[in-house]
């Protein structure tokens, strides 16, 4: 009894300690958020402040739910955001001080009302108060644009992880990676490490290993198995992949036929050819072909296409064929 209580008590104590440490961390982040707020972060670093505040609340919610892992993750986001908010707001504050320190004109200069209200960039901030009188910007930024966008990709530099390279908003302003440099982004590239044309999904054009006829799929390269076994050899994967794609695309029903030469016992040959046809079917199903589109039949030596009296003939007779039976739709 005591033995079982001790580990449970240890776990509970550890959990409490972890929860308490996280709460302390949350309090320290909250203090930093308060500092940021006092420094007018809402205007100077709105995104950072919002991120810090939101994640702080989410962390506390997770702690209330007893989910320390999630709380830790949220605090991990909140803390640097709060820190950034404080840093940005300090810079922003300095700018504000500089404005306040502007020497006031010694003697009031009489100006016409239309001149005092002059607003060259039409942003609602009169030129006298506008730090950027030629570029529109909101009043809380003293008439300056919120953020610049050096690469002109529509993602402002404050959130642009690649401010000098145009990139989509979804990738934080960075261009999508393209390892093979074929102008097809890796996310859309079926062959991200081999250059290929965009109309072939970024893959190089290869000579096809199969030809789809009306009633069969012709193979330019036979499917190879381990001798006397139904294990497909690796060098046949490419041709099988092409077959899989063709069957998937054409939505047809295909009969996979296994054939052998006449060496050995007939019954064993039939069994082997069936096992090989089954192995091919299994491979194609793994490659996304629906099982109902495929049937596998082992004929053994029953249907030779060449003489079994020569080595070349026997090689031709050991084969797998693909007969198109009907369209599935």
């Amino acid at each position: 009894m005591t033995r079982s209580i001790v580990p449970v008590a240890c776990c509970l104590a550890a959990a409490c300690a972890s929860g308490s440490a996280l709460r302390q961390r949350a309090d320290s982040v909250a203090a930093e958020v308060k500092v940021a707020r006092d420094l007018n972060a809402e205007a100077c670093a709105p995104r950072e402040l919002a991120t810090a505040e939101a994640n702080l609340r989410f962390a506390r919610l997770a702690l209330d739910q007893g989910d320390s892992r999630r709380a830790d993750a949220h605090l991990g986001t909140a803390a640097p955001a709060a820190h950034d908010a404080v840093a940005r707001s300090r810079d922003c504050g300095k700018q504000a001080v500089a404005i306040k320190d502007k020497p006031e004109p010694q003697a009031p200069v009489p100006v016409a009302p239309s001149v005092t209200a002059k607003d060259g960039d039409g942003d609602g901030v009169p030129d006298v108060d506008d730090l950027c009188p030629d570029v529109p910007g909101p009043p809380e930024r003293r008439g300056c644009p919120l953020f610049t966008d050096r690469d002109g990709d529509g993602v402002s530099d404050d959130i642009d992880r690649c401010p000098e390279l145009p990139g989509p908003k979804e990738n934080f302003g960075c261009p999508w990676p393209d390892r093979d440099g074929d102008k097809v982004a890796d996310k859309d590239d079926r062959c991200p490490d081999e250059p290929g044309s965009p109309d072939n999904q970024g893959c190089p054009r290869r000579e096809r290993l199969i030809v789809v006829r009306r009633d069969r799929i012709e193979l330019k390269q036979q499917i190879h198995f381990q001798p006397n076994r139904a294990k497909i050899l690796r060098d046949s994967y490419d041709v099988l992949d092409e077959i899989a794609q063709a069957v998937r695309d054409a939505s047809v029903t295909v009969r996979i036929e296994g054939h052998t030469d006449n060496v050995g016992k007939r019954k064993e040959n039939v069994t082997l050819s069936q096992a090989r046809a089954d192995a091919v079917k299994e491979y194609l199903v793994r490659e996304g072909v629906e099982a109902k589109q495929l049937t596998a039949v082992g004929y053994g030596p029953k249907r030779p296409i060449a003489s079994n009296s020569t080595r070349a003939g026997r090689t031709l007779n050991r084969r797998v064929e693909f007969r198109i039976e009907e369209a599935t739709n």
Partner: protein, 104 residues
């Protein structure tokens, strides 16, 4: 009696996902409207909060914690509405000023 109680309890439990989804949808719509009013430019603080709260509400909903999800979605809605309001005000403010100047 017990049966009736069970039915009522089931109905109440069943309302959780529905109400939450409704509030999330409202917040989503409000945020879209705010974004259309350029809230990202004029009310970035509120828009970011709304965005984060909405995402969190969806996450909580995914974990079937409907009460928390609903509270977060309600806050997201509040922030999104505030963002929309602020953005609209700020967009129209220069025009209003211009009008005032021209009246003078």
């Amino acid at each position: 009696m017990a049966l009736r109680g069970t039915i009522v309890a089931c109905l109440l439990l069943g309302c959780g996902p529905v109400t939450t989804t409704s509030v999330i949808d409202d917040a989503d719509g409000a945020l879209l409207r705010a974004r259309a009013a350029n809230a990202d430019g004029y009310a970035l603080y509120e828009a970011t909060l709304a965005d984060l709260y909405l995402a969190k509400a969806r996450e909580e909903q995914g974990h079937a914690r409907y009460a928390d999800a609903q509270a977060l979605a309600a806050d997201a809605l509040r922030f999104a509405q505030a963002a929309g309001r602020k953005a609209s005000e700020r967009r129209t403010a220069p025009a209003a000023d211009d009008a005032a100047v021209s009246k003078r």
